[in-house]
Amino acid sequence: MTHLADLPVWAAIPVALLLLLGASLALIGSIGFVRLRSFYERVHAPTLGTTMGIGSVLLASMLCFTVLQSRPALHEILIAVFMIVTTPITLMLLARAALYRDRSEGSDDVPSAPPAQTTAPSAPDAAPPV
């Protein structure tokens, strides 16, 4: 771990703090994931990790390597972007699937299907048919 010694204190402290912050957020998110009562509440918890949690760690990483390599270490940005873009897909798909499952079981905790309305414009063309 000799490289860590090369890190000046001004960088080391924020790196350490950011790491701890990120990890703590992830942990809190996961604790919430365990402790919250229903699936729809639990689904919010991991977002702590996927947003600020990982953001902090990425910042720490960027800072660390920028200082160590004396050149901007930016590729961590990609991870952040990918996380922001992809996590919602999972959560959205999952939440809706859970909703369907709960509705089909007749659960009272979820809103029933929207009432029938008068004719409305059709779905955008973008929707890929399945």
Partner: protein, 93 residues
């Protein structure tokens, strides 16, 4: 000094992350519903990504970055597939 500080904070962060992973695993094991398990796996993936990043800082190597990148970019594919399976009964229609 900075080394100690960093080592300890990295260590602590890793411990926190692993405990977070354990929480997620708990949900995967416990459920109660399939969606909880899937969400647990997703959380597991996210926490693992962070763990890999802290590991990169600890070893001073950027080589583990790709693994984290892959999880960030593609980790969702497995969970999305699972979600689709729950919703539609099959992954590819």
């Amino acid at each position: 000094m900075t080394t100690t500080l960093l080592l300890w904070s990295i260590f602590l962060a890793q411990i926190l992350l692993v405990v977070a992973m354990a929480c997620a695993t708990f949900r995967v094991l416990r459920g109660p519903r399939a969606q909880d398990r899937v969400l647990g796996l997703d959380t597991l993936y996210v926490n693992a990504t962070m763990l890999l990043l802290t590991f990169g800082i600890r070893t001073g190597s950027t080589l583990y970055f790709e693994a984290a990148l892959i999880i960030a970019l593609l980790g969702f594919v497995a969970t999305a597939a699972l979600a689709k399976f729950l919703m539609r009964g099959e992954v590819i229609e």
